[in-house]
């Protein structure tokens, strides 16, 4: 008996609310204290149906495998051959997604270029323009053409190996960007033509076109300025993938980059990241359907991004119809982002390795998402480039291992028929059978 329970009535155990969880309560307390919505980097952290919910069946008697290490399994991909005089030829189908100088340090951008080039793939600029070190260290550089047009100029446009018109981003379909004042250093401010130290807002729509008919004319202008030499990609968020892909193709894109909600951002509202957009797994089949309906599958390339982490993810994306994938967050982790070696410093920032996402504050202990000279000096771009190359090589080997096991001599030959799903949700989204059945929800002809 205790003093709070004089009659000896047993207490129920303290029960936490499934609605008002500790996470939710901390969000409420933070909002009440600050009056500002939470801003962070990265992609959706909530659990969503993903490539982890798919499995390859491999080969046995009904399918014939290829011998690992002996029989070839090609990995090359050509992007942009439909309209461009000089399509992009890549050794591997894993590209580096657009990340800005400003969000990332100059040495981090250099490392991405080094790693991508060593692995035979492309890297991509971001909001804020093209830096010399990025161009110099990237054999194949895709130049993003964004709504803000920060740092946008025709000289850099002509130096690019491809142009990516960014319409949307998986982390924030319909949203613009943000770079808080802490990261607007002298160099970033000069490149973006802004006062130093202000919160830089990026528009969510392009300033000089609206809608697919205008986009077609914008693509015409960009092709005229670059002499029809380089491919033009259109990047869309995973919002309405069937229609967005259809309209991008109709506007004349050479490639469509499709970004699911697990795809990262340098900084935006947490509520946007977690509640707007669709999981990567859910967007690929509608996009492939759009390409097939227009007779453009494999002619206009589909590059899928948003939470791609391993060779298994690459193989699954390609089996469902992608021509290539792009990685962003995974590339940063390969460079050293969120590494436990900086745990004490993450703790000092009120977080822990693996959870650090305040990239916009510019205090990254790993020296990657910062413009602070002392923190930047911690990051070695040569070592970072080597690590990224290693990671890209491993992903490629993993994808090849799976493809050979499925009897495919090219990653592009992987197909939906190689896959099964572990959950009803994944089966419905990927349109592959639930494991042990021949059925998936919505399968034509099944009536339900």
């Amino acid at each position: 008996m205790n003093k709070h329970d004089p009659k000896g009535i047993p207490h129920t155990t303290p029960r936490q609310s499934a609605t008002f969880t500790q996470d939710v309560n901390s969000d409420i307390r933070r909002a009440a204290a600050t009056g500002i919505y939470d801003i962070r980097g990265g992609g959706a952290k909530r659990k969503v149906p993903s490539f982890d919910d798919l499995l390859f069946m491999g080969a046995s008697i009904s399918r014939y495998p290829l011998e690992g290490y002996r029989e070839k399994c090609e990995t090359s991909v050509t992007i942009g051959g439909l309209h461009a005089e000089n399509p992009i030829e890549l050794d591997i189908p894993i590209t580096i997604a657009g990340m800005s100088f400003g969000a990332l340090s100059g040495p981090a951008k250099e490392a991405l270029g080094r790693g991508a080039s060593a692995a035979g793939t492309s890297t991509t600029t971001g909001d804020g323009g093209m830096t010399a070190e990025e161009r110099g260290h990237s054999n194949k550089l895709v130049y993003q053409y964004l709504p803000s047009r920060y740092g946008m100029n025709p000289d850099d446009l002509r130096k690019a190996d491809a142009i990516e018109i960014v319409v949307g981003q998986g982390a924030k379909p319909g949203g613009g960007g943000m770079l808080l004042g802490q990261k607007i250093s002298d160099r970033v401010a000069e490149m973006r033509n802004l006062p130093k130290g202000i919160d830089q807002r990026s528009a969510c729509r392009h300033p000089d076109w609206t809608g697919p008919d205008d986009l077609e004319i914008k693509i015409l202008e960009l092709r005229e300025i670059t002499g029809w030499k380089v491919p033009i990609y259109v990047k869309v968020a995973g919002a309405r993938p069937y229609y967005d892909t259809t309209l991008a193709i109709k506007a004349g894109a050479d490639a469509v980059v499709l970004d699911g909600m697990q795809g990262g951002t340098a900084a935006t509202q947490d509520v946007f990241i977690e509640h707007v957009g669709q999981p990567t797994l859910a967007i690929i089949r509608p996009a492939v359907q759009a390409l097939q309906d227009l007779g453009m599958h494999r002619k206009v390339q589909l590059i899928l991004s948003g939470g791609i982490r391993s060779g298994a993810d690459v193989a699954k994306a390609m089996a469902l119809g992608a021509d290539a994938v792009a990685i962003g967050t995974a590339a940063l982790i390969a460079l050293g982002d969120n590494d436990p070696r900086w745990e004490a410093e993450y703790n000092a920032l009120g977080t822990t390795a693996g959870a650090y996402d305040d990239w916009h504050e510019g205090q990254d202990p790993a020296g990657i998402t910062t413009q602070d000279p002392e923190l930047m000096a911690r990051f070695d771009p040569i070592e970072g480039g080597r690590r990224l190359r290693n990671y890209l090589k491993v992903m490629t080997l993993e994808a090849q291992t799976i493809a050979r096991a499925c009897g495919k001599n090219h990653l592009h030959n992987l197909e939906p028929e190689d896959l099964v799903a572990l959950t009803m949700e994944a089966a419905a989204m990927a349109r592959v059978p639930l494991a042990g059945t021949e059925w998936y929800p919505g399968k034509p002809g099944t009536g339900y």
């Binding site: 803000s148 025709p154 006062p195 202000i198 300033p207 004319i217 914008k218 202008e221």
Partner: protein
């Protein structure tokens, strides 16, 4: 003078020909006939040449211009001189939406009226409009000068940064964080030079200056209604 008949050689050949002009070309004067509202005429030029388009143009005429002077002897479609870096573009008639959008430098002169979003996200370009401009002009304007000899529509200079906006006539409304500013001697000097270069006889003293109140430069919850 070199004459290109767009109806005969097509857009690609025309732009290819103009792009092939080197900095020291002797063929400095070009005339384009039969433009018939085509898009992307004379975009991406990068040589000290003068191109006169005999008629009206479609989208993005003189887009991303560097060094060249482009005269449009008619009206111009959306995005004329968008992202111009240097050089000059003169429109004899009216200009549609987004004239001079995101321009980094050079001079854009519109002798008629300009539609909405003139100078949107401007980054250093100078724009002189002899007539009126539409709504949301100089939205998010970062730097450069927008001179309007007539009236301005709704939401002038919304969310602008350091662009200077000069209007002689009325302003229907100012956008978020845009306010009237003091006209100092250096501003009158800028105006005088731009008006002269644009062939306008308007008097600098008749203009008012507008610009950023700088209240939205760093997020403050008490300004949330303005976002």
């Amino acid at each position: 003078m070199q004459t290109i008949d767009l109806s005969k050689i097509g857009l690609r050949e025309m732009n290819k020909t103009l792009h092939a002009q080197a900095a020291n070309t002797n063929q400095t004067t070009w005339e384009i006939v039969n433009p018939k509202g085509a898009h992307a005429i004379a975009c991406g030029l990068d040589a000290p040449i003068e191109v006169t388009v005999k008629g009206s143009t479609g989208y993005y005429c003189a887009g991303m211009n560097q060094q060249a002077t482009v005269n449009i002897k008619g009206s111009a479609g959306p995005g004329t001189a968008e992202n111009m870096m240097s050089g000059k573009v003169f429109v004899d008639g009216d200009a549609s939406q987004y004239a001079g959008a995101t321009g980094h430098g050079g001079l854009l002169v519109i002798k008629g009226n300009a539609s909405s979003r003139c100078g949107i996200s401007m980054k250093g370009i100078n724009i002189v409009v002899h007539g009126n401009i539409g709504h949301m002009s100089a939205f998010m304007g970062q730097s450069g000068n927008l001179v309007v000899c007539g009236d301005a529509g709704d939401a002038l200079g919304d969310s602008c940064y350091e662009a200077r906006l000069f209007v002689r006539g009325s302003v229907k409304s100012l956008g978020a964080d845009c306010e009237e500013k003091e006209m100092r001697p250096e501003h009158l000097e800028i105006l005088r030079d731009l008006l002269a270069e644009a062939g306008s006889d308007a008097k600098p003293e008749d203009f008012k200056r507008y610009g950023s109140a700088r209240n939205l430069y760093n997020f403050d919850v008490d300004n949330a209604a303005a976002y």
